[in-house]
């Protein structure tokens, strides 16, 4: 078509400019010469000939200009010209440009880095074919329905009065699957199930290790349309009981532990003592479909889950119909909708669910059961895998986004001020342009081009900063900080780069538009008449921007201060035991197949060796690790209470006899446990002070008997009282805690946390410990090894992250604001040289001049502090507001601090002082320059 032709021609004109320009010159010159020659031939003199020729030709320059414009793409030419001009302007003041670009780079870089986190955690879809067509199946029923047993996490929101789950029982899934495959016109092409198998014992080489895995239905990989990079995937054949036991490895495991050896296919691999055949390896980047952060290293068919879990199997056994533990996903056929799926499968599901669940409690009237209360299916998009945990990361990430956005805004404010100052200087130039006819928008466009140029340069360098920053970010964060889940890779992919470009352009327009607008608002007559220097008065807009910058920096720094104090407070909390020189590790013999009497024997043997390790002054263990976010609680009844009474709650702990001595927990009254407190002796317990005060405030607690309400129905006599300790978190208040001796309940000692008090550095002992355990049983992995203090410290990861990041960004914001303040004041002083000269000539002292300038700046800083105080107050009221749902991210944010209020006076005073001092420095430097003004020079100089 013709428009394409024209476009191509114009493009050609754009690229071949010089040659075509020369051609045009040649052509016109030739024409003129021929015209002149004709005239000469007609008898004119050369001058007359030339004169007439030019007249006949018409305006040569006009023709050339028209030709030029038509020849090429005008907008592109204009843009190129503007860019060249912009570059020139920037090069003129390299220092200022450098500072501007640097501040932009820091702001944009921080945003980019954080967006890569958003992308990796919240946006990354499963690396399978057409993830948009995957659906996560969930179900909902009235509260009257109860599931017989549940295993796994399910964080689904539903309307009040109902419960929603994303977990299915195997028989229910089977029936659903049968219904789906029986209908060829079903809107679902594949229906598959999967579930996590956390903490499997894997025998890798001669070491035993703990890995996470997942169990999947036979058509899992088919439904996902995922092809392995080596070997083959699990099929429905493998999912039949009795077929060869197979396992698929993850890319990560294959790389790390098998050296990416292509010959692993067919090798045997031991998981939980079961020998499995490796049949394939999944591609890189595939981390299963479960919660983000849970990366299964192995995938096995559902049918062998009972082999791996033994009595703990979640599938149906002889004793129980199984539990609700499977996640279910389906793949939609092209064009199918959720509604169609609901219509097609809800019936089958409801029938299956009603069969599987016990009928509602007798107390509820069947007539009152609305149809919405019957179990029915609901769906969520499956392109990200299971979504639940992602949402909890969202709150931290969005909180940080607010912070980096603020920093970027501060940088923009700096640049806006810079451009405003420059615009005033360029007034005469601009007015001349307007006078000869340049359109206002044309000028604005040119000025905006400069801003966009700055912004894009800043963005490009920002990407570089983000690239470096993301490794720092990954190093700073781990599972504990709630920002980045494990195994998530941050990459600067095209989505992130597009984001950076968009932010850069937006930033450029943001800080560039108003100065450009201002600069082109001209009253020509006055501007051209008055002298080229402005009055040096700082515009209201500039002042406003500075105030905003100071306010934002103050807020960020106060936040940083609060978190630093929180961290400090948390680290200072008395734990109730001595965490120094304590090596801790975990053993889980039950997973390795130990039965109760075997456990007792094993621990005896182990302690015989541990007790005699050199440099170990005490070896003990407990069921629950302290200050590790773990807990174990039971309900119980006090003496004399009947079976129907409301049960009381206490935290539980199970320990070795020397526990209190080794952990240095003060023992108060009664007697400690002894090795004679075993199965043949009466059941005893020791309680802490909080327990005593809460349940036996006015009586003697020693000798009382209490009865647990769980399945064991154990009854214990309290024989001792011990001091309180922190239990699961440093920041929690003391809770009632009840200890029992380890030998008296072999069913609960399948997993124990050991603690060794050492005389010197505990870390060196770790390898000895591993050796000792391996001597006794080479199939038993030693996990969670570390020093107690380090592990306790690690639980403060989130607070530490906030403190670090807020400090970094707060200081960054302060530096930017200080630079901005300095810039504006320096400019103002340089413009007011004449005025200062006059003042000094009239007798003003140097000190007065200095005070003048400093006060000009400090006025704004103080105003900024006031504004930040106001904003802080509003925020405080907002966070304390009762409207927030419990567990919402606002509530979570409000509960982050410890031991310090949001309005903590010490923090506020320190930050205000810091800001004032920095601001004073920023004002002092231009003030000094003002003081150096020589009145004679100033008055003469125009």
């Amino acid at each position: 078509m013709t428009s394409l032709r024209i476009l191509l021609s114009k493009l050609r004109g754009l690229f071949l400019k010089r040659r075509l320009e020369q051609d045009m010159q040649d052509e016109i010159n030739a024409h003129l010469e021929m015209l002149i020659e004709d005239h000469v031939r007609q008898g004119m003199t050369p001058e007359e000939a030339r004169y007439l020729a030019l007249r006949k030709f018409g305006g040569v320059e006009q023709v050339k200009e028209t030709h030029r414009e038509r020849r090429t793409l005008a907008p592109v030419e204009t843009l190129l010209r503007d860019l060249k001009y912009g570059f020139r302007m920037l090069r003129r003041s390299p220092g200022v440009t450098a500072v501007a670009v640097l501040s932009l780079a820091l702001g944009i870089g921080a945003n980019t880095a954080l967006f890569s986190v958003v992308d990796a955690v919240l946006l990354k879809t499963l690396p399978v074919e057409d993830p948009e067509r995957l659906l996560v199946f969930e179900w909902q029923a009235g509260r009257q329905y109860r599931t017989s047993g549940m295993s796994g996490t399910s964080n689904v929101d539903g309307p009040p009065g109902t419960r929603s789950l994303s977990l299915f029982r195997y028989d229910v899934f089977e029936k659903l699957h049968r219904a789906q495959s029986a209908t060829p016109e079903s809107p679902v092409s594949d229906l598959f199930a999967f579930a996590p198998l956390p903490e499997l014992t894997a025998k890798l080489g001669d070491q035993a290790e703990i890995v996470d895995g997942q169990a999947v239905s036979g058509n899992y990989f088919n439904g996902l349309r995922l092809n392995p990079i080596l070997g083959r995937a699990i099929t429905t054949e493998d999912d039949r009981p009795g077929s060869t036991q197979v396992v698929v490895l993850s890319y990560q495991l294959w790389q790390d532990r098998f050296g990416a050896n292509p010959n692993v296919i067919g090798q045997q691999f031991k998981l939980n003592q079961q020998s499995l055949t490796i049949i394939g390896v999944t591609p890189r980047g595939f981390n299963g479909t479960l919660q983000v952060g849970f990366n299964p290293a192995v995938t096995v068919p559902l049918s062998i889950e009972p082999l791996l879990r033994g009595d703990n199997s979640n599938l149906a056994t002889a004793n129980s119909p199984g539990v609700w533990w499977l996640n279910v996903m389906g793949r939609l056929k092209p064009g199918a909708t959720e509604e169609q799926v609901r219509q097609s499968l809800n019936g089958a599901f409801q029938t299956a669910a009603l069969e599987a669940m016990p009928p509602p409690r007798k107390s509820s009237d069947p007539a009152q059961l609305a149809p919405k209360d019957y179990p029915h299916l609901r769906f969520e998009p499956g392109n990200l895998g299971m979504m639940d945990r992602r949402k909890s990361y969202a709150s931290t990430i969005y909180g940080l986004f607010i912070v980096v956005a603020l920093v970027l805004l501060i940088a923009c404010a700096n640049l806006a001020n810079l451009l405003l100052a420059r615009a005033t200087v360029r007034r005469p130039e601009i007015s001349v342009r307007v006078a000869i006819g340049a359109g206002r928008w044309r000028l604005i466009r040119q000025l905006l081009t400069e801003s966009l140029l700055l912004a894009t340069l800043g963005g490009a360098i920002g990407v570089l900063f983000a690239f470096w920053g993301k490794s720092a970010l990954v190093a700073l964060t781990d599972n504990e900080t709630g920002l980045l889940p494990n195994g998530v890779e941050l990459s600067l992919n095209w989505r992130v780069l597009v984001f950076t470009l968009a932010v850069s352009l937006l930033t450029g327009v943001l800080f560039g538009f108003v100065p450009a607008w201002r600069a082109t608002t001209l009253d020509l007559s006055t501007t051209l008449k008055e002298s080229s220097r402005a009055t040096g008065r700082v515009s209201g807009l500039s002042k406003g921007l500075l105030v905003v910058q100071v306010a934002l920096s103050a807020l960020l720094l106060v936040g940083a201060g609060l978190f630093i104090r929180t961290l400090y407070n948390l680290q200072r909390i008395k734990l109730g035991f001595n965490p120094e020189n304590l090596l801790v590790f975990r053993l889980q013999p039950e997973r390795a197949g130990y039965k109760e009497d075997q456990l007792l024997r094993f621990y005896q043997q182990l302690f015989e060796r541990l007790d005699h390790l050199p440099s170990v002054s005490g070896a003990t263990f407990a069921r629950v690790e302290l200050v590790a976010n773990e807990n174990w609680s039971n309900g119980f009844l006090l003496p004399g209470e009947s079976v129907d009474a409301t049960e009381h709650d206490t935290m539980r702990q199970m320990v070795r006899e020397n526990y209190f001595a080794t952990m240095e927990i003060p023992f108060l009254r009664g007697r400690e446990f002894t090795p004679h407190d075993n199965l043949h002796a009466p059941a005893v317990a020791i309680v802490n002070q909080t327990f005593q005060h809460q349940y036996f405030p006015n009586e003697e607690v020693l000798g009382k008997r209490i009865r647990f309400t769980d399945d064991n129905k154990l009854e214990v006599e309290i024989v001792g009282v011990v001091a309180d300790t922190k239990y699961d978190r440093q920041r929690d208040q003391d809770q009632p805690l009840l200890y029992t001796p380890w030998q008296q309940d072999p069913t609960s000692i399948g997993e124990m946390h050991f603690a060794l008090r050492t005389v010197s550095n505990p870390a060196t002992l770790a390898e000895r410990v591993r050796l000792v355990v391996r001597e006794l049983d080479s199939n038993l992995p030693v996990t969670q090894v570390g020093t107690q203090s380090a592990r306790a410290e690690a639980t403060l990861g989130q607070e530490r992250l906030y403190a670090r990041l807020l400090s970094f960004f707060g200081i960054l914001a302060l530096v930017l604001a200080a630079i901005g303040l300095f810039g504006v004041l320096a400019y103002s002083v340089s413009q007011r040289t004449k005025e200062i000269g006059i003042r000094m000539a009239f007798g003003a002292q140097v000190a007065q001049v200095i005070r003048l300038v400093i006060w000009q700046g400090m006025k704004l800083v103080l105003l900024g502090l006031v504004v930040s105080a106001l904003i802080g107050y509003v925020l405080k009221r907002l966070l304390e507001c009762e409207y927030f749902a419990p567990d919402s991210w606002q509530q979570q944010m409000a509960q982050q601090l410890y031991g310090v209020k949001i309005s903590d006076p010490l923090t506020l005073i320190v930050i205000a002082t810091l800001l004032t001092l920095v601001a004073l420095l920023s004002c002092w430097l231009p003030a000094r320059r003002a003081a150096k003004v020589d009145p004679l020079v100033a008055l003469r100089y125009e």
Binding site: R5, H31, M34, D38, G58, V63, H67
Partner: protein, 113 residues
């Protein structure tokens, strides 16, 4: 008859150029301008330079093609000729012009009855 000169109406320049090239075959820019002046008996006041932007447009539309060669006075000059599409366009423009002038003529003629 030769008192007043008429300015070339915008848009008709294309038609004149195409017709010139159709009649005379290949010409350079000066030749076209001279020819237009001649044919109109010097009645058309033409700024000769204006042919060049017009020629550029015609070339962009694909109606004429160009070729560098040597002119009669041994200068390097660009020669223009009609393409097949150009010939078709000429017919189109001629018809359009005749129709327009016919309508305007009818408008100006006093109506009978």
């Amino acid at each position: 008859m030769a008192d007043t000169k008429h300015v070339v109406l915008p848009g008709t320049l294309n038609l004149l150029i195409l017709k010139t090239l159709a009649s005379l075959g290949e010409l350079h820019g000066y030749g076209i301008a001279r020819r237009i002046e001649q044919v109109s008996d010097d009645l058309l006041e033409l700024n000769q330079g204006t042919v060049y932007p017009a020629l550029l447009k015609l070339e962009q539309m694909g109606w004429i093609r160009t070729r560098w060669s040597t002119s009669e006075n041994n200068r390097r000059a660009k020669y223009y000729s009609l393409t097949r599409a150009g010939r078709k366009q000429l017919t189109v423009e001629e018809d359009a012009w005749r129709r327009t002038s016919a309508i305007v003529t009818r408008f100006l003629t006093p109506s009978e009855k």
